[in-house]
Amino acid sequence: MVHKPDSALIILGHGSTVNPDSDVPTFAHAAEIRRRRCFGEVTCAFWKEEPSFRQVLLTVESDDIYLVPNFVSEGYFTQKVIPREMRLAGPITERGGRTLKYCEPVGNHPQMTEGLLRRARETAPGVPAAETSLVIVGHGTSLNENSGAAVKKQVERILRRGEYGEVIGAFMEERPFVTDWRTLTTCPNVVAVPFFISDGEHSYQDIPVLLGIEPEITAAASQRDVFRHNPREIEGRRLFYASAIGTEPFLADVILEQVARFDKQREAVLA
């Protein structure tokens, strides 16, 4: 149980200038953690919205500050953009009498595997897993070779359980591409779960087009009357598409556990 009344927690999100749903989970987890009163201050900061990574330190007053990226992968944003924008020197940055503690992104946490599997089961209830290809969909980018690693790690963990007929990772912007799901998978049922933080532009609007379940980009989730229908029959296969797992309430606990893990790792380094 984290109890740090003299510390601040800043949850770092991507945010969006075009999709209204992108920041919703980050704000929701902040509100939940604030309600639990385990930090003196709790706030959010974003790459694409305000408060920005550049501004946010002006909004907190504690000298001891934990930064938890609400990102799935340890890639371009967590390794390059956030450290650059917040002028971080590493896991610990001392500046002007303040200590900034840069934790691992939520996507690294072991509970994310449970979250992905729960989403897969909810999305295709009663569909036998042994006759199902599970596709974990990530962003992937040529800007950072580590970007797809989070998806690959989840695929390995799920494969080890032997529950699904097939488990693969697929990406928007690197190989194997999600557009090729028809040839990448072989089972009669295909469940695609986006490993994303929000039902935002990529997971709600872009990936359905890449999968072929929408002919063109739709409005944002919050601006449509219904969430998507499952399954879609495509070329004799049944394709189920899930919503992003970052919206689940357990993510607030994952954020707090990333703080606890940070402290534990520092203790081990100092011991």
Partner: protein, 206 residues
């Protein structure tokens, strides 16, 4: 938000600075009332009392369009907050106008760092690396379209493009002084929306 920002906010209210962007704050007994400036005198307003409600109000304009820039002059009307503590008040203002109270307090205390737009553009990578090539003229074209208080953004521009502030704005767009009843909204650095708009301008030019 910590105690110093809350105390500063109380102090500014006591001085009669009751407007922040398009909202106005009143005291009513021990409570704080918040509403849209254009709704002063209106009685039929939707009552709110949770700071988180401000997130939803600030998210959409009157036509239901997403507002990625919270300091755009497009805050919708029709609501009134009644808040019982200064902590809730400060958090609600933070949701309407992120980082503005903290920025203004830092400016008052002489510790608000200002970044010239050229520096902001020069550190961009990935998608936005292209903006390093922007000329002062490219930047000014976009700033004129994006940052005007009437149509784009209510913030006070504190940064130069390189050495000079952008042209085509009245002098008050660049100063936090004066302002009468307003708590100003300081812009210490060009935002991501501006950087993205400069990228689009360069793409169009190419």
């Amino acid at each position: 938000m910590g105690g110093r920002i809350e105390l500063a906010l109380l102090h500014w209210l006591d001085q009669g600075r009751t407007q922040v962007g398009q909202i106005v704050i009143e005291r009513a007994g021990g409570d704080f009332l918040l509403r849209h400036l254009a709704d002063v005198g209106q009685e039929k307003l939707e009552e709110k009392n949770l700071p988180e409600d401000a997130l939803e109000i600030a998210r959409w304009d009157a036509e239901g369009k997403y507002r990625p820039l919270k300091t755009a002059p497009t805050l919708r009307r029709g609501w009134r907050f009644r808040l019982g503590s200064v902590a809730e008040l400060a958090l609600t203002v933070e949701y309407f106008y992120p980082a503005m109270l903290g920025s203004y307090l830092a400016a008052r205390e002489g510790r608000l760092g200002v970044t010239p737009l050229r520096e902001t553009l020069n550190r961009q990578t990935g998608l936005y690396a292209l903006t390093r090539k922007a000329t002062v003229e490219d930047a000014e074209t976009v700033i004129k379209r994006r940052c005007h208080s009437e149509s784009g953004c209510l913030k006070t521009i504190l940064w130069p493009i390189e050495d000079e502030p952008p042209r085509g704005f009245p002098a008050e767009k660049f100063t936090l002084a004066g302002g009468g009843e307003r708590i100003p909204l300081p812009c210490a650095e060009g935002c991501n929306l501006l950087v993205a708009a400069i990228r689009r301008q360069l793409k169009k030019k190419a």
